[in-house]
């Protein structure tokens, strides 16, 4: 079918008009906003899967918008890496958005904002898809701005505290975007092109110039901030905590991953492994900061009493894993980092959705106030949470174990014992704060349940309704399933996606 020839552009082309159409369509019936959102995300996910299959079969796909070739035209490129990340992002977003209706209704106080919520969410996903597929630096900036503004919106809707957190995120995020643009400007002046493939070809000639180096560094700082790489993570804890649960569940698994993807793409595929390791040792710096971030995030998470805040700091640590993989700059490190993009997306989506369930049914997500009664009331949510938590701790065969395994192998390969130690130590630190929650949910006697026989009457049950449970359970199953099948992903997709010149 001719339309499938433009399949790289299809996600964006479908999402953008739908996002704009939602407020109009919802004038007929409010429910249509949700239905349309889920429908378009389902279609986009299917297209992403088809694209992945096409790329696996036939190699990278190039698409030129409007038929105009670079350096004037904008090029979209789907190779294994981008197709993979796109599939992960869209699949997880689909599950979270399918789940979102009740959380949105409950947590967003102003009913007038419910419909625009979906429109903004779709705009954000449109931006993400654009960033992931584009082969042009300035086009990337355009999509970056679109998704960032939507992100701020998604964070801000909710309570007054959300607005403050969103404002902080806006300031820092805009600074980050500006750094990126500045860096891009510098690079443009020395290379004369905005197309990624072009710049890659021209760059070796100008590599020595200070302008080029500064351009690279500025770009890295810009996306490091968007990625919440330590110490540029300051916006994250508040943003994830104060945002309504459905927003947290949407942005936490995906937002920072997209930024990480850009970093990987730019560093390894445009500038080249050789350059970013030897000439300008950006990867070493990123690796070091990532290691610090892992420890910092884990320690801070241990100090948190509120579940969402704990998960937010945990995310800072998890981004550190990806940064560590970038820092190692060898095939196993790369595989570990990209696999972690998928793993963390699935795990964090599950954990934040479960947190949303707790907030909805209990009215809070404060860990010291959890006890056995939570498990009695919401056994499935609690079980799914436990699966996610154990995966984060790194219990095989859950998916979280394998990120650490590959990163550990990568660290050993570089004889980087510090990184190896950090990876393993972080597992233990994760265990501290995650087991604390599991302990509370399963083993701490409730005030009302102390001494009672084990099977409380079913009337106590107050589980989340099944439309909310199904995506959560799918994610929990994915954590085990993708863990067992990780070799399929690694061998089938990631191993061949390793950038040229690495390892």
């Amino acid at each position: 079918m001719p339309i499938l020839n433009s399949s790289p552009a299809l996600p964006v082309v479908l999402l953008l008009p739908t996002a704009i159409a939602i407020p109009i369509v919802a004038l007929l019936r409010k429910r249509l906003a949700y239905i349309l959102t889920v429908a378009v995300m389902a279609v986009v996910t299917v297209i992403s899967a088809l694209n992945m299959a096409k790329v696996l079969d036939g190699g990278p796909i190039h698409y030129w918008l409007g038929g105009w070739f670079p350096p004037i035209g904008i090029e979209y490129v789907l190779d294994r890496l981008s197709a993979f990340v796109i599939l992960v992002v869209n699949a997880v977003a689909f599950l979270v958005l399918a789940h979102s209706r009740r959380l949105v209704d409950r947590e967003i106080p102003d009913p007038g904002k419910h419909v625009p919520y979906y429109a903004v969410a779709l705009l954000m996903l449109c931006g993400f898809n654009g960033i992931l597929v584009t082969g042009d630096f300035f086009n990337l900036y355009v999509w970056l701005e679109i998704c960032s503004l939507s992100l701020y919106g998604l964070v801000a809707v909710g309570s007054r505290k959300s607005a403050v957190a969103a404002f902080r995120y806006l300031i820092m995020g805009t600074v980050g975007a500006c750094f990126y643009l500045l860096g891009l400007g510098f690079l443009f002046t020395v290379t004369g092109t905005l197309n990624m493939a072009d710049l890659k070809a021209i760059f070796p000639q100008v590599a020595g110039q200070p302008t080029a180096v500064i351009g690279l560094v500025l770009m890295v700082v810009g996306f490091g901030l968007k990625m919440a790489l330590f110490p540029l993570h300051g916006w994250l804890p508040d943003a994830y905590t104060q945002a309504p649960s459905s927003s947290s569940a949407l942005i936490a698994p995906i937002g920072t991953k997209v930024a990480a993807y850009v970093l990987i793409r730019v560093l390894f595929f445009v500038f080249g492994v050789e350059y970013v390791r030897q000439a300008v040792p950006v990867t070493q710096v990123i690796g070091g900061l990532a290691a610090a971030g892992i420890l910092f995030g884990s320690v801070m998470a241990m100090a948190q009493k509120e579940l969402k805040r704990m998960l937010a700091y945990s995310s800072v640590a998890q981004i550190g894993y990806i940064g560590l993989g970038i820092g190692l700059a060898n095939p196993l490190g790369f595989v570990g980092a990209v696999l972690h993009v998928m793993n963390h997306a699935v795990m964090k989506a599950l954990l934040f959705l479960a947190a949303g369930h707790f907030r909805m049914k209990l009215g809070h997500s404060t860990v010291p106030e959890f006890d056995e009664s939570v498990r009695r009331r919401m056994p499935w949510t609690t079980a799914a949470f436990a699966v996610g938590a154990l995966s984060m701790v790194g219990l095989p065969p859950a998916v979280g174990f394998f990120s650490k395994w590959y990163l550990a192998l990568g660290a050993v390969g570089r004889s980087n014992w510090v990184f190896l130690g950090v990876i393993l130590l972080s597992s233990l630190l994760n265990a501290v704060y995650f087991f604390r929650v599991i302990e509370r949910l399963y083993f701490v006697r409730g005030k009302t349940t102390a001494g009672s026989p084990e099977d409380a009457p079913a009337a106590v049950r107050a589980e989340a309704p099944w439309p909310m449970l199904v995506p959560v359970l799918i994610l929990a199953a994915a954590i085990i399933g993708l863990g067992l099948l990780n070799a399929v992903v690694v061998k089938g997709i990631l191993a061949a996606a390793v950038p040229p010149g690495m390892g």
């Binding site: 154990l390 701790v393 790194g394 219990l395 095989p396 065969p397 174990f401 394998f402 650490k404 395994w405 590959y406 550990a408 192998l409 660290a411 050993v412 390969g413 190896l420 393993l424 130590l425 597992s427 233990l428 265990a431 087991f435 302990e439 399963y442 083993f443 701490v444 006697r445 001494g451 009672s452 026989p453 084990e454 099977d455 067992l484 099948l485 990780n486 070799a487 399929v488 690694v490 061998k491 191993a495």
Partner: protein, 490 residues
């Protein structure tokens, strides 16, 4: 797939148990059925293991170049037989114990137990390091709800300590596996040692050794990594009995036997002097644990220290690098299990029946509970290494191996610790039978659900002492396992 069945049967049972929470008899039925089935499945694997053609089950690739793989070789079958066989008896005992005390949360208890046993057999049959780690970690997490069962603050603290020790050990194992994989390109266990490891640099090999030592040493309760075990005695006695005297700690010493025999191999161990280091830790543990046992008034804690000591007999046997000693270690792994579980069962029966936990309260108990204390006496004699109980058999071969290796100090240690064992166990029997009781008049024996299993294990210990090869061929299995290290049979 015959090797996979024993692992899966109790996983399936766990699900069924969770679903039958409202019908206790059905729920317990699943446990007993699964235990029986599991034991049978493992028995079916026995002939192949002895013949040197172990049953294998190779599953999906779990990391490029590494498959999730099971191999029921002699060493693995020995461990699996012990765990699964004793699970049957422990399940019967558990029913008596939990119902006798009207314990809450029985569904969680029985389900966790089933998963633990699944993991234990998975550890036994793991054919490579990654499979081993997978089941080892599952074992850690599955035992946690059992340790923490009582849910008192003390139990929760014990659970945390347990996790702290075991998860750290797990992480060190992962590091060891990563280094081994990079150095040799393989994670498969090989009888006599992994070939590629010999070629890796001395620094690498040393690092791997210490990582493994800590990694398996925690569950094997090698001092100073033993701290979690006495604290974990807070768990209900059947948990202590099976898991800490049989499955969890035996998984640890099994790990030591695997690492010494199938990762490093005797030659590499000797080359780098690792055998001396390991033997030193083991010997120190045997001595210290036996001495510390004297100081414990709480019966279960005394038994815990006794376990720590006996586990290091097995570690010592591995460290001696002689085939006879290795065989002795494998036998002791099985025989200590039957003896120790007897003692723990007795301790539990005394608690359920008389609510007594301390040695100082056991005066005259033998008159009220003669069967229980008779079984205890048999267990004590066995642990002291006195024939005709099976404890003697393992020690005898350990001693032979030590003498063959020229390590006479080890022989003295074995004899000496036997005396110490007698020292901290026999007085209990003596006071139970020959001292006047306090508050035991008119009390009768514990419920048959408790007494029958403990008599069964005591009698089993006696029978295995007289005919070590009876039924399950532990003697043959041990010898086959040891012989395989010389690079002969797999």
């Amino acid at each position: 797939m015959a090797a996979l069945a024993p692992v899966l049967v109790s996983l399936a049972a766990a699900v069924l148990i969770l679903a039958s929470g409202r019908r206790p008899n059905l729920r317990e039925g699943w446990t007993l059925a699964a235990a029986g089935a599991k034991f049978l499945f493992v028995l079916l694997l026995l002939p192949a293991a002895l013949a040197g053609r172990p049953a294998e089950a190779v599953l999906l690739e779990i990391s490029p170049g590494v498959r999730l793989a099971l191999r029921a070789d002699a060493l693995g079958v020995a461990f699996a037989l012990v765990s699964s066989g004793l699970w049957i008896l422990t399940s019967v005992y558990s029913i008596g114990y939990m119902r006798g005390l009207k314990e809450p949360k029985q569904t969680r208890y029985f389900a966790s137990f089933a998963v633990c046993l699944s993991a234990a057999v998975g550890v036994a049959f793991a054919a490579n390091l990654l499979t081993f780690i997978l089941f080892y970690e599952i074992l850690t997490v599955a035992t946690y709800p059992l340790v923490i069962h009582k849910q008192t603050p003390e139990a929760i603290r014990a659970g945390r300590k347990y996790l702290a020790y075991t998860l750290t050990a797990g992480v060190l194992l992962i590091a060891a596996a990563a280094v081994v994989f990079r150095a040799t390109g393989s994670l498969d266990f090989a009888p006599g040692g992994m070939k590629g490891l010999a070629g890796a640099g001395p620094g690498t090999v040393k690092a791997v050794f210490y990582l493994f030592l800590a990694g398996v040493g925690v569950k094997a309760a090698v001092m100073p990594l033993h701290g979690w075990l006495p604290t974990a005695m807070i768990a209900p006695t059947p948990v202590s009995a099976l898991l800490h005297a049989v499955a969890v700690v035996k998984a640890g010493v099994f790990g030591v036997l695997r690492v010494v025999g199938f990762v490093f191999g005797p030659r590499l161990m000797a080359e780098h002097g690792f055998d001396v280091i390991l033997a030193a830790f083991a010997a120190a543990t045997v001595l210290l644990a036996s001495l510390l046992a004297f100081r414990q008034d709480n019966l279960k804690r005394r038994l815990a220290y006794s376990t720590i000591g006996h586990l290091s007999y097995i570690v010592l046997g591995a460290a001696l690098l002689a085939p006879t000693a290795y065989a002795g270690a494998v036998m002791h792994m099985a025989f200590h299990a039957t003896l120790k579980i007897t003692l723990f069962f007795c301790a539990g029966a005394i608690y359920v029946n008389l609510r007594r936990e301390n040695v100082s309260d056991l005066d005259g108990v033998g008159r009220a509970m003669p069967w229980t204390m008779a079984a205890f006496a048999l267990g004590a004699v066995g642990l002291a290494g006195i024939p005709p109980l099976n404890g003697f058999v393992g020690k005898w071969y350990l001693g032979l191996g030590a003498a063959a290796a020229g390590r006479t100090a080890a022989v003295y240690l074995l004899v000496g610790s036997g005396l110490l064992n007698a020292g901290y166990l026999f007085p209990i029997v003596l006071r139970a039978f020959f001292k006047p009781g306090r508050g035991v008049e008119g009390r009768r024996e514990a419920s048959p659900l408790l007494v029958v299993p403990l008599l069964a294990t005591a009698v089993l210990s006696l029978i295995l002492g007289l005919w070590p090869d009876l039924g399950f061929k532990f003697f043959e299995l041990a010898r086959t396992a040891a012989a395989s290290l010389a690079g002969g049979i797999p």
